[in-house]
């Protein structure tokens, strides 16, 4: 698959950056002329992934979050959200709806929401090393004639 365009972003794991991260990725995706639903899907999925980094990857400290958004041929959009935080012991369990390690007000639905709003999601993680979440979404053909 040939990448057509790419954007890289590095932010600190501060919750105030959640809105910036999802808006930045959505703004980059705008060149594909997605519809409003598709933009909301991307914003929501990115928001979940970035929140996971802030809440889980770096629970006690502020670390770096690396976001790469890539546009491929055929309107395929891929976002990689990478941290060097604590990692996930059991990925399968972490992805189960309603499972959460943080208690409080986290609903345990972050991965479920990412799965429902993206076509594909991949999670790579090593305890103590960090986690990478890859989100993929193929945008509908609306506006394709303008490419």
């Amino acid at each position: 698959m040939k990448p057509i365009n790419e954007m890289k972003l590095q932010i600190e794991s501060r919750s105030v950056n959640e809105a910036f991260a999802r808006a930045a990725v959505a703004a980059f995706a705008a060149q594909l002329d997605p519809n409003i639903e598709e933009i909301s899907d991307i914003k929501t999925a990115v928001s979940e992934a970035v929140t996971n980094c802030i809440v889980h990857a770096y629970p006690e400290n502020v670390g770096k979050i690396h976001i790469t958004a890539t546009i491929y041929e055929n309107r395929l959009f891929r976002v990689r959200i990478k941290d060097k935080g604590c990692g996930i012991e059991n990925i399968k369990q972490a992805m189960e709806p309603l499972f959460t390690t943080s208690g409080g007000e986290r609903a345990g639905l972050g991965f479920a929401v990412m799965e429902s709003f993206c076509d594909k999601i991949r999670v790579l993680s090593k305890p103590g090393k960090g986690t990478t979440v890859v989100l993929e979404k193929k945008f509908s053909s609306r506006g394709a004639e303008n490419d």
Binding site: S15, V16, E18, A19, R22, E37, S40, K43, T44, S47, E48, T51, I54, V55, E105, R106, A107, L109, G110, A112, V113, S116
Partner: protein
């Protein structure tokens, strides 16, 4: 983002505006809980009509308020939901705990 609170004898209405994410939910939570705990009305209505974005933190927000209101025997209504927010809350199974109402077109 802002929160508007209207207190009536039997019902407290909490209107949320703007984006609900993990960062903003903390502020919404603080203000909402203060109003709920000082009034303890039988019905607490959460108005999502002016919410422009929500991730799963919005679901956590509703769940958290439900737990408080349920603890004193009250009930929670979530109103003015867009189609998108309605389906997210359904995905989370919230309709078993609270009343979900869509936005009128």
């Amino acid at each position: 983002m802002a929160i508007r609170i209207t207190a009536e004898p039997m019902r407290l209405t909490i209107e949320l505006t703007g984006e609900i994410d993990h960062h903003n939910a903390a502020v919404f939570r603080l203000e909402a809980d203060e109003a709920i705990q000082s009034s303890l009305t039988p019905t607490v209505r959460l108005d999502f009509g002016d919410v422009t974005f929500m991730d799963s933190s919005g679901i956590g927000f509703v769940l958290g308020r439900y737990k408080i209101v349920e603890s004193y025997g009250g009930n929670v209504e979530v109103i003015n939901l867009s189609g998108r927010l309605y389906s997210m809350m359904q995905l989370a199974g919230l309709e078993k705990l609270v009343t979900l109402k869509r936005k009128r077109k």
